[in-house]
Symmetry: C2
Subunit: 349 residues, 2 copies
């Protein structure tokens, strides 16, 4: 019998709110019938929707709150006393109290990270949490982190991200020995800034269980050269959004090409099946869900603009993290690593 | 009568060497019949090729050298005494001596930048040169810089890049008032690191002639939200290569889709014309040529893996920079700007 997963949902987050999030939660029950939900939100919005989603209602416990975090709230505003009753805060707090295994929100990323850090705290051995996501590559799916939680990172931060990414790839992608690469402007040892060179030196030193590939470049992201791409939050955020932007441009240009002439429209009729497969493979909704790694609890952030199908995928990732024991495994790796002193610690002794 | 352009070519650079570079130079003569070439390279390679390209031969002066910079030479190696006779060095030196208006090489980027900085020096008012390129967007072409010359940049560097990008967009894209954006992880004023926030404050202050749009994000690159995207060399390098990588993945996946089934192949026959137009618009060879901006002379770097068509485009960009008076215009902007003291200078008085 599969394990139960208890998922806390911030039902008020995202651009479209509960009207897409709750149908998404219901879709997830098809793949994971053993999910139990804790839903936080305003009863005037949530209850009428639940009445129309009986399967979801049967699996959910609903908690009313009047407060919600707005999409444009600053992280500092989200931490103010009045917001402690917000749907986002209550979802994270349910994880902290052990009432839920994971929390999922489509709300404001900065606010969610601030609340998650404040309430859940970082794991022993991790200085800063990171945001990770899965994305499609030529070879299959890969993981990239950080995507914006830490704009400036030193070598030690990057090594910790590598470790978290490694465990994530084992847990969610099911890889036995994932390969890890550090994003840089070239592949030679001397390339890059102090942080990436320092992190590479440490990862090459074999002090971690990681299979370190070395430096990778921007075009290695889509090529799937490695299973885990490690970078600082500034570069990761820009690179991921740059990729999303060009994928959108490509899809639109392609669609426009087919409407361009009568023969092209005719060709489209025949090619439609193949093109749909192509589009499905690169559908960003299939890769919705940014994981906050390095905290003593699991929080998953869905794209704010998601639809129900995309939100269901974010819930799916959250369920996988729990079912595959991510927190346990990352804890084991960290304690194994912390028994071996780092070069700085050795030098300080 | 159009002006003459005298172009110095490093005929030994690139993955395929003179056998693609010289045919590329000949292609350029179709668009720019008033180009005159100074070709630097080994006579055993160059002369037999020139005999087969009579139109190019008639427009070229050839200078023999035994020395060439290898694709894997380090910048420091390129500056060694023995390399002063290399084809790359001689091409840059021809610009320095006023024997050529621009230099074009498909060789090693780091070596070319090191030689160009050493020989040509930066313009008064520019601390560091930057590498810029054109790329296709939803709206047309935009410019991005820096792409790897400066991995860490402060606010002042970014402001100088903005200025150079502005003049470049006026000169090469022919825009009257280009819009300039700073690449960041969000569009709100408080987002980002000190360098981007500091640069934004100065660009908003109206001390420059630039039409400053504000912060832009990764997906604004392909969307063409602004005409000029300014960023540090680490982020710019990763973002541009990430875009190239996903464009390649997309093209390959699309081709595979069409071979997937008989109806899809049949559809392709009808859609071929439209698809070719689509591919042509996004053809990276159309956007070959990275410009080194901020030096007291013009140097253009072609992709090392270019074919003749791509190299001809790099030469075309070089010719446009000369014909549209880029160096004169950037000099004018800088001297206008330098008459107004910067906040630091005012504070130091």
């Amino acid at each position: 019998m599969p394990d139960k997963v208890r998922i806390a949902i911030d039902a008020m987050g995202g651009d479209h709110g509960a009207s897409v999030l709750l149908p998404g939660a219901e879709i997830s029950l098809i793949r994971h019938p053993d999910i139990e939900y804790l839903l936080f939100g305003n009863r005037e919005v949530v209850e009428p929707l639940l009445d129309r989603l009986p399967r979801l209602k049967a699996k959910s416990k609903f908690v009313h709150t009047e407060v919600s975090i707005r999409m444009d709230d600053k992280p500092s505003q989200a931490l103010r006393h009045g917001r402690w009753k917000s749907s986002m805060w209550l979802a994270i707090d349910a994880v902290k109290k052990g009432e839920a295994d994971v929390a999922v929100s489509a709300g404001n990323t900065g606010a969610l990270m601030a609340i998650a850090k404040f309430a859940l705290k970082t794991l022993p051995g991790i200085d800063r949490p990171a945001i990770a996501t899965l994305f499609p590559t030529r070879r299959g799916d890969s993981v990239m982190l950080d995507l914006g939680a830490n704009l400036e990172c030193d070598a030690e931060n990057l090594v910790q991200f590598a470790l978290m990414g490694d465990v994530f790839a084992r847990t969610v992608l099911g890889l036995v020995q994932p390969t890890v690469g550090l994003l840089n402007v070239g592949s030679e040892d001397l390339k890059g800034n102090d942080a990436v060179r320092g992190a590479a030196a440490r990862l090459r030193g074999g002090m971690t269980p990681i299979k370190f590939h070395g430096f990778v470049e921007g075009d290695d992201i889509a090529a799937g050269t490695v299973d885990v791409i490690v970078t600082d939050g500034f570069t990761g955020n820009v690179a991921l959004k740059a990729i999303e932007g060009v994928a959108k441009l490509f899809s639109e240009s392609l669609r426009a090409s087919f409407h361009h002439s009568l023969p092209a429209r005719f060709g489209y009729v025949f090619a439609r099946g193949a093109l749909k497969k192509f589009a499905a493979r690169l559908d960003p909704r299939r890769h919705n869900g940014a994981m906050f790694l390095g905290l003593a609890g699991i929080a998953v952030k869905s794209h704010g603009s998601t639809d129900a199908f995309g939100f269901a995928n974010a819930i799916g990732v959250a369920a996988d993290l729990k079912l595959n024991g991510f927190l346990q495994k990352i804890g084991d790796e960290l304690s194994r690593l912390n028994r071996a002193p780092s070069p700085e610690q050795s030098a300080a002794l």
